[in-house]
């Protein structure tokens, strides 16, 4: 069926709830309300209030109880309403979820999924457009995936829920309703830890995740017309990172532009750039990053100028083509 990204999330959640009685969905407004983004619509009605829990308003608590639930073998799927509110949950994610298996040498584990809408572009209030995923991607013991379309949302979310370890799933807010795709509800997960190459190309490798994948695809289509051929890689899984796919592509094209919505410095693009630099690959032109500037996400009036966009990607590709 042709559905939006948010519908794909809902579909995957329903599938997961159906196939495993240990799956429990929890968070603020996920039950009666069906989620502020409508990602959990109908789940409470269908699976009942023991499977879909409206929690009190406390992100630290949501993460903390999820760890305890997971230690008992449940598979909590927690929603943090917006990425800007995940900070209060970090202690439990970093100091506990990521460590429970290691700390107990495998006696207790933490099969937890945390879903978080991230990124800007929906004209939301302050703190509703953050994308500081680099904070999570630095933490040993966490897996971090970013979806970029209805299909990847369905497949990666299912993979995350079935994974025996904690996985953070980042869902780009501005793609929730803006793209539709044919999704078959066949229960097939996408693999974690694998890049997805959406477009093959000869001249430049574009590496991206989340909402910016769409900008990369748009840019590639536009550049094609001017005779520049871009390979578009959707990192999909920030950690574990499938660097082999990226390096193979960059080895072939000799040029790389890394694109993310988060602010530049210390963004996860730096890690990819560092690994390319360490690899010793001889590039035709120095790699480039397209990213937001190192400033606080502005309120909505200035947000359009802050967010990197298709034009920025195109400009960067042109620049690496000229650099050589």
């Amino acid at each position: 069926m042709l559905i939006t990204l948010v519908e794909a999330v809902d579909l995957a959640l329903a599938r997961a709830l159906r196939e495993d009685e240990n799956v429990v969905v929890l968070g603020e407004d996920v039950g009666r309300n069906g989620g502020v983004f409508r990602a959990t619509v109908g789940l409470r009605e269908q699976f009942g209030p023991r499977r879909v829990l409206d929690t009190p308003l406390a992100e630290n608590l949501i993460a903390g109880i999820s760890v305890g639930m997971a230690a008992q073998g449940l598979r909590p799927v927690a929603e943090i309403q917006f990425f800007g509110f995940i900070y209060a949950a970090l202690e439990h994610l970093i100091s506990h979820a990521a460590r429970l298996r290691n700390r107990t040498r495998g006696r207790l584990t933490c099969p937890l999924t945390v879903r978080v809408p991230f990124g800007g572009g929906i004209h939301a209030p302050e703190h509703h457009s953050e994308s500081t995923e680099a904070l999570l991607a630095h933490i040993p013991g966490l897996k971090v995936v970013a979806v970029s379309s209805p299909r990847t949302a369905y497949g990666l979310l299912l993979a995350a829920i079935r994974d025996p370890d904690p996985v953070i799933v980042l869902e780009p807010e501005r793609l929730y309703r803006s793209v539709k795709e044919e999704v078959t509800d066949n229960g097939e997960a996408l693999p974690l830890g694998r890049c997805l190459t959406w477009r093959e190309g000869r001249d430049v490798t574009l590496v991206s995740w989340g909402a910016m994948v769409q900008d990369c695809l748009n840019a590639a289509a536009e550049l094609e017309r001017g005779g520049i051929s871009c390979e578009v890689i959707d990192v999909a899984s920030l950690r574990p990172l499938d660097m082999a796919t990226i390096l193979d592509s960059v080895a072939a094209t000799g040029r790389c532009v890394i694109v993310h919505e988060a602010c530049r410095s210390g963004g996860f693009g730096a890690e990819i750039a560092a690994r390319i630099a360490e690899s010793g690959l001889e590039l035709i032109a120095p790699l480039r990053r397209v990213a937001a500037p190192d400033v606080i996400v502005p309120y909505l009036k200035l947000e359009p100028l802050y967010l990197p966009d298709t034009a920025d990607v195109i400009a960067a590709v042109r620049a690496v083509m000229e650099d050589a």
Binding site: E28, D29, G31, R32, N33, G34, V36, F37, R38, D54, P56, L57, A58, N60, L61, Q81, F82, G84, F85, A88, P117, I122, H123, A124, P125, E126, H127, H128, E173, R177, R264, S265, P293, D294, V295, I296, P298, Y299, L300, K301, L302, E303, P304, L305, Y306, A311, D312
Partner: protein, 374 residues
């Protein structure tokens, strides 16, 4: 014998002006002053009208997501009336009424909700905190301000507001506990409007009252009818006076009802019972104060009409000023990051200027807001 017993206590709900506009016999002198009634009524009326207009602006794409304070004007008005100019307000996002009384300009409020940081550069109350979005985090800030005031031995108070949902977050308890042990000049007012977006109070806590949460900090907790501007004024006034006099913090639970969607991005009909809302309508604050005014202070239809006419003009002028606000320079996003922009960022700033020039057609006014989450 059993050792584990229920330790619930009963706290009365203070009310001076009942839902029918009758004044309680024990109303203190201050609450009997028709000048206060008129001032409070006029302000609540202004706020309600302003709120409606903001809602309309949002619906026509001239403003971002907005959190209305419909039906909750009394509590915030009482706060604004009870605070002194050198007290400090740490609001959440339904405190339009208090902010206006403290000197925040309408156009500033419009700019804030319109997605313009300049809206929080209040010309008036320079020390007040701006609206706080991450729930409950304003309470530790308020405690910090109160700490500064206490360390400097000033006779000022800090007042922070929070929703009922906010009382579930650790920030709230941690800060109240500190206020207790450091005996801070802090008043925390809970707007218990019965909802946190779609989560009803009964799913938020097992406490029969939110005021009793004060006991976790060893401080006084008081319940008051938040739709009764006179009781609110009396209670908040007393708590502030205590704070200024070094008598320590107070937690106030103001009982209201959210007579509106959570924000413009919400649809209350999805989760709320219409009958409950209708019942709450009967307790809303303006009607009862107007009844008192009519009965005891000769308030007439003409008074009402004149008031509304005057207010309409003020509001429209503010809206016009808002809509005519020149766009902020995009470089503002760099220029208020630090006292001095680090060299590291000069290049990025220059790149922004360039991008701006290339895309001078870029929309700087907000596009109509879609379903922006809450």
């Amino acid at each position: 014998m059993t050792f584990v017993r229920d330790t619930a206590i009963d706290l009365p709900v203070h009310c001076l002006l009942d839902a029918d506009g009758q004044l309680a016999p024990h109303t203190p002198a201050a609450g009997r002053d028709p000048a206060l009634w008129r001032r409070a009524y006029a302000h609540m009326r202004l706020v309600r009208r302003f709120d409606e207009r903001i809602y309309q602006l949002q619906r026509t794409g001239r403003l971002g997501t907005y959190a209305s304070c419909l039906g909750q004007e009394a509590l915030s008005t009482a706060i604004g009336l009870a605070m002194q100019a050198d007290d400090v307000l740490a609001p959440y996002y339904r405190d339009q009424a208090a902010q206006l009384l403290r000197g925040v300009r309408m156009v500033e409020i419009l700019r804030y909700w319109g997605g313009d940081e300049r809206g929080s550069d209040f010309a008036g109350p320079r020390e007040d905190l701006p609206d706080c979005v991450p729930i409950a985090t304003q309470i530790p800030h308020a405690a910090g301000i109160a700490t500064a005031i206490k360390l400097r031995q000033q006779k000022r108070a800090v007042l922070a507001t929070i929703g009922d949902g906010g009382t579930s977050r650790g920030d709230f308890y941690e800060a109240l506990n500190l206020a207790g042990v450091w005996h801070l000049p802090l008043v925390v007012v809970i707007n218990n409007n019965q909802w946190a977006i779609s989560v009803p109070l009964s799913a938020q806590t097992a406490c029969r009252t939110l005021a009793q949460k004060a006991m976790a900090a060893g401080i006084p907790g008081v319940r008051v009818d938040g739709n009764d501007v006179l009781a609110m004024h009396a209670v908040v006034g007393e708590a502030l006076a205590r704070a200024r006099a070094g008598k320590g913090p107070t937690l106030i639970e103001a009982i209201t009802y959210r007579l509106c969607d959570h924000t413009t991005a919400d649809d209350m009909s999805r989760y709320a019972d219409a009958a409950q809302r209708d019942a709450a309508q009967g307790r809303e604050p303006l009607r009862r104060l107007r009844a008192l005014l009519e009965r005891e202070a000769g308030w007439s239809e003409e008074d009402e009409a004149a008031l509304q006419r005057g207010q309409g003009e003020v509001i429209e002028a503010a809206i016009a000023e808002y809509l005519a606000t020149p766009a902020a320079p995009p470089t503002d996003m760099f220029d208020y990051l630090f006292a001095e922009l680090p060299e590291e960022l000069l290049e990025q700033r220059a790149a922004l200027v360039e991008k701006r020039e290339q895309t001078s057609s870029a929309p700087t006014a907000p596009a109509p807001s879609g379903r922006g989450g809450e």
